[in-house]
């Protein structure tokens, strides 16, 4: 087994909201009333059905309630065993599926407040991602500015399958705000289901939706690179979360080949895509999607031409590895140090600041 190093950062942990009523204390009177009188129950995305095997490793699944619902479980099952200095929380509560921008905004604010109060306040290792109401760019910017006052929020969270491709200029005020505040944008697997969850329509199965996350990350990478997001926002980092990464090099080769032939349409796309990936884009470790042969995985790292791209993650409580085998076999000690410690700290600038509640 490749041993983890203490003092690292787990860049993808999922705290679960037990039920919509958990957010009631964080909603104003109007929205509290809306939730109760309209009989709204819960926001569960079919990207992660609660009892699907992916949604929770069997030994992490609680006897009652949702996986990842209790801090005490996250501590004993993920934070403590991997001896992390920090764990970054990415809530996957289904707020992005909502179509009303006002409702979405109310739920996002409540979710972010819930995260601060019930998680960040209770374990000094924990850091949070700001969930934003993507139905409204204006409200998203406001929510980022509001939550960023708390230095324990270290990232802005968006879904990989949203309403429009992530490179679209209409979204750039979100990126400008994040760049100004030193916050990376985390793009996480999952769909708002406002578009078919694949690029060729609606498949039949949950397994199909899950496999398709990788292809969605690929088209989003194309979008953010060719639209010139990083040409305009050079200090912005984006982190692909639960994306897989073993597809990266051939994807970049293809993008590079077409870049050479079609540059006249996107003149701001003025650097080779591999350079842009290396300067502005990162990937969380899980899932690894590799063949059993460690030699092949190490070749893939060579193809990526950088040891700075991967950030350690457990993806807790999702079932991506057994026991403590989060790190694939055969990685050099140097690479493990980079993955667990150097790369996350280089990506998340706020981790170095002293944590104080707002």
């Amino acid at each position: 087994m490749t041993s983890p190093l203490p003092g690292g950062v787990d860049c993808d942990l999922h705290p679960a909201v037990a039920h919509l009523t958990s957010l009631l204390p964080y909603l104003n009177d109007y929205w509290r009333d809306q939730v109760t009188t309209r009989g709204m129950v819960d926001l569960v995305s079919q990207s992660y059905p609660t009892r699907s095997p992916i949604s929770s490793r069997p030994d992490w699944r609680p006897a009652k309630g949702k996986p990842g619902e209790r801090l005490i479980d996250m501590q004993s099952q993920a934070l403590d065993p991997f001896k992390v200095a920090y764990g970054i929380l990415n809530p996957l509560y289904g707020v992005q599926m909502v179509f009303s921008e006002d409702m979405q905004d109310a739920f996002c604010r409540a979710l972010n407040d819930w995260l601060a109060k019930e998680w960040l306040d209770k374990d000094a290792r924990l850091r949070g991602s700001i969930v934003i109401p993507t139905q409204s760019v204006e409200k998203s910017v406001a929510e980022i500015e509001r939550c960023a006052k708390d230095p324990r929020f270290v990232q802005v969270l968006m879904l990989v399958m949203g309403d429009v491709p992530l490179g679209k200029r209409a979204l750039w005020p979100i990126y400008a705000t994040a760049e100004r505040l030193g916050l990376p944008i985390g793009i996480h697997a999952g769909s708002a289901y406002h578009n078919p969850p694949t690029s060729v329509g609606w498949g039949s199965y949950h397994i199909e939706d899950y496999v398709a996350q990788a292809q969605a990350f690929q088209t989003q990478l194309t979008s953010i690179i060719v639209e010139g997001v990083f040409a305009r926002h050079p200090k912005l980092k984006m982190v692909m979360l639960e994306s897989g990464f073993t597809w990266l090099a051939p994807f970049v080769w293809r993008l590079h080949k077409f870049w050479r032939g079609t540059r006249m349409e996107t003149p701001w796309f003025d650097r080779p895509p591999m350079e842009i990936v290396q300067s502005n884009i990162r990937f969380s470790l899980q899932p690894v999607d590799a063949p059993p042969d460690p030699v092949v995985l190490n070749r893939l790292f060579d193809h990526m031409q950088s040891d700075e791209l991967i950030l350690f993650s457990t993806d807790y409580p999702h079932w991506q590895f057994e026991d403590e085998k989060a790190l694939p076999e055969g990685l050099s000690a140097d690479l493990v140090h980079k993955i667990m410690i150097d790369n996350p700290y280089a990506t998340y600038g706020r981790l170095k600041q002293t944590a104080t509640a707002a």
Binding site: P53, I54, M161, V164, P165, G167, K168, S191, H194, N195, P196, T198, S199, V200, G201, W202, G203, S204, Y205, H206, I207, E208, Y210, V211, A212, A214, Q215, A216, Q218, T219, Q220, T222, S223, V226, G244, T246, W247, A249, P250, F251, W253, R254, L255, H256, K257, F258, W259, R260, G261, T262, M264, E265, T266, D289, A290, P291, V296, R299, D302, H303
Partner: protein, 369 residues
Amino acid sequence: MNIQVRERPQGASTVVAKTAIADCDIHPARASKTELYPFLAKRWHAHLETYQEHPYQGMLEGPPYPKAQPNAARRDAYPPEGGQQGSSLSFMQKQHLDPNNVVLGVLNPLRTGQGLRNHDLAAAICSAINDWQIEKWTSKDSRLKGSVVVANEDGATAAKEIRKRAGDKNFVQVLLLSRNVEPLGQRRYWPIYEAAEEAGLPIGVHAFGFGGNPITASGWPSYYIEEMVGHSQCQQTALASLVLEGVFERHPKLNMIMVEAGFGWAPSLAWRLDKVWQRLGSEVPHVKRPPSEYIREHIWWTTQPMEDPERRQELFDVIEWIGWDKLLFATDYPHWDFDDPSRVLPPGVSDANREAFYLGNARKVYGLA
């Protein structure tokens, strides 16, 4: 690739170019709007002139993502007698088949009636295109073989067309596109797979098509480059659907060729499918074996546009992981992102692999060995 400004240097490695090759992706075109009329019932002539084509996307003239070149084709490929690139057999012979020693050329007609919302019209045009392939191309040059084009959204009609052409040596495959109303594994397309397997024809799944879905899972992108790069993702998703719906479990003799979407994506997709199947396999009990096994047994890839990393050894790593026996050389003639056979494989490839890549694999998969 056809770089717009640069002069194409003459006289590259003609020794290599003279190796006999298969070109598994050639796009024949019509020289005029009425060229298909002799093969199309009269009622459709007036219909087309009045109502045009009614596709699963909005534009009636030209594609929603305008191409990088007129007709997405090489500027030097206009036939001297007129008509668009790829519409002249004699010019195709002169510019491509003869000098590149193409001994097997697989025709993949585009603009065929696939992706049209009027399914009767779609069926009529597809059948006409199949007759046209014989009359204009395959009966006149025995190196050329056609693809049975079918009304993809109407399984029963598509199956009938396949059965009609079964056994006709003018055709070596059935042609589908990767973007349809639903992912290709869905049961509305199953009659096509049944008929193709019965006919002993592999199915080529070519990039493009329209089914009314945004071409990414997060909506419609802005630029042509995104569509072009995106064929890789569309092909991957279509293939995942075919595997996870059990198409190859039910049709063990059916083969498919992924056309014009590259192949570099294949190893990672296969690894991901296997891993997720181990986790979620109980949802799809009809998928009885690891997905990578179905892919290994039933899938081939045409090479164009070939991935082109700076460090060529990395490409060879990927080809090793896929298998030298799985690649079918293709140029995509006359399109602008044409892969030149004399440039595509550098030295260092064994003779056996070279022969398989350029010709042997194609002969096997198309039943011409």
